[in-house]
């Protein structure tokens, strides 16, 4: 029987698994949510974090050192690494769009079976925020997606086709959920790893998208 993880544990398990795929030297941009947790599990010391609000060299910060004017894209307090630099928003997105960020790790609402994601809008709700998601998707050399495998109602978030508005026509490179890890090759999902406690049957059952094993 599968050990049931609570939500936070699941998120940490995903983040830890993503961290294994990061090999330095590289520049990584972390989205809001699970991606932010990845920083806690990175072991190599030549991975540098970029945040699109204008800092290369993001680190953790101790509570007593919090500076309200030093935040990440999620508006959470951060610190600055040795060798960090600050820049304006257009220079920051020039880095992203120009292909100078190696990996973007993003959350998603849905992924289709070609690796296209939807992560910025829900039909019927006001379309109110997109932030840097579209820029990261077109610009980062690799895009990793983290998300829970299913919605609250149990339906798969890996779909034949996204029903929410897509964020980019670009196919992501890897998808990480609490059940499985997929690589996207030539527009096809390939299961490359089962997460601890998950079974292939469970993944098959909870995945609408076609994938190879």
């Amino acid at each position: 029987m599968t050990v049931q993880l609570n939500k936070a544990e699941m998120q940490h398990a995903i983040a830890a698994r993503v961290a294994q795929e990061l090999e330095g030297p590289c520049i990584v941009n972390l989205g809001i949510g699970i991606p932010t947790l990845v920083a806690e599990y990175m072991t190599e010391d030549n991975i540098y974090l970029h945040t699109e609000n204008g800092l290369l060299g993001v680190t953790d910060v101790d509570d007593e050192a919090i500076d309200p004017n030093l935040v990440n894209a999620g508006k959470l307090p951060v610190g600055e690494a040795v060798g960090a630099s600050f820049f304006n928003s257009s220079d920051s997105f020039a880095m992203i769009r120009g292909g100078h960020v190696d990996v973007a790790i993003l959350g998603a609402l849905q992924v289709d079976e070609t690796g296209v994601i939807a992560n910025w809008a829900v039909p019927g709700k006001n379309i109110m925020g997109v932030g840097g998601a579209m820029d990261l998707l077109v610009g980062a050399k690799k895009v990793f997606v983290t998300m829970s495998h299913t919605s609250k109602d149990g339906s798969s978030k890996l779909l034949k086709e996204c029903t929410y508005p897509i964020t980019s026509t670009r196919q992501v490179d890897m998808i990480f959920t609490e059940l499985a890890v997929f690589k996207v090759n030539a527009g096809q999902l390939k299961l490359v790893d089962l997460m601890p406690g998950a079974t292939i049957e469970e993944v098959r059952e909870k995945t609408e998208a076609a994938f190879t094993e």
């Binding site: 945040t51 699109e52 609000n53 204008g54 800092l55 919090i66 500076d67 309200p68 004017n69 030093l70 935040v71 508006k75 600055e80 600050f86 820049f87 304006n88 928003s89 257009s90 920051s92 997105f93 020039a94 992203i96 769009r97 809008a121 006001n126 379309i127 109110m128 925020g129 997109v130 932030g131 840097g132 998601a133 579209m134 820029d135 077109v138 610009g139 508005p165 897509i166 964020t167 980019s168 026509t169």
Partner: protein, 228 residues
């Protein structure tokens, strides 16, 4: 004539109803809190506000929103203020949502005298609807237009008396771009120093862009926004 202005109301006198106003900041970080506060006290309306966010509910630009002074908002992330969505549903505000990098780049293009530019961001998405798509050297781009405004309200860390500016950490964000893209630029700073005190290699915004300098009367701290 000195660019330094003690009186916030006087500094903001140039803003008229119907103006397009750029407002710096990423959330509260780097936002010109004193100037925004001053703007909420001015009797102007039908404003187009260009800012990454429209404040938070009842705070900053959120007050201006609730005063019904904003006709249109152009930004990348209105989610931070739920009132924006409510007003939009009621048809009380127009919104133009842009990817954050496009917002930044369009402001830069405006300041640099460009008409527009071709970007990959947004191609094939709902935010590209109505925008020209074009292939250049085998890559698909969409055309985005430059943004220019009547007035910019920005925040910097230090100004010298001429108006040269340096910023502080991630409070830099959109401010240097907005400084270039408006006819009149008003900056709020923590500190005003003599000309010559800023290193010419380190000036981020040359004084050429700045019209009026005010001292910040509201500052973001760990405990939130406080008066100084």
């Amino acid at each position: 004539m000195s660019k330094i202005q003690q009186d916030i109301t006087q500094a903001l006198k140039c803003i008229k109803s119907g103006d397009t106003v750029l407002v710096g900041g990423f959330g509260l970080v780097g936002a010109p809190l004193t100037l925004i506060d001053g703007l909420t006290e001015r009797d102007v309306n039908e404003l187009t506000i260009v800012s990454n966010n429209l404040g938070e509910s009842g705070k900053g630009l959120g007050i201006l929103l609730n005063q019904n002074k904003i006709k249109k908002g152009i930004g990348s992330y209105f989610t931070s203020n739920r009132d924006v969505g409510d007003k939009y549903q009621k048809g009380e505000i127009e919104l133009e949502l842009l990817p954050q990098g496009t917002l930044a780049e369009s402001l830069r293009a405006g300041g640099a005298g460009l008409g527009g530019y071709y970007t990959t961001t947004g191609v094939g998405t709902d935010l590209a609807i109505g925008k020209e798509e074009r292939e250049i050297d085998g890559i698909n781009y969409i055309l985005e237009k430059a943004i220019r405004a009547d007035v910019a309200l920005i925040r910097a860390h230090k100004a010298d008396t001429l108006g040269n500016l340096v910023y502080y950490k991630t409070a830099r964000n959109f401010n240097p771009l907005m400084a270039t893209a408006a006819k009149i630029v008003i900056v709020e700073v923590d500190e005003i120093v003599e000309a010559g005190e800023l290193n010419p290699e380190e000036v981020v915004t040359p004084f050429i862009y700045i019209d009026t300098i005010v001292k910040a009367q509201q500052v973001l701290t760990k405990e939130g926004v406080v008066a100084v």
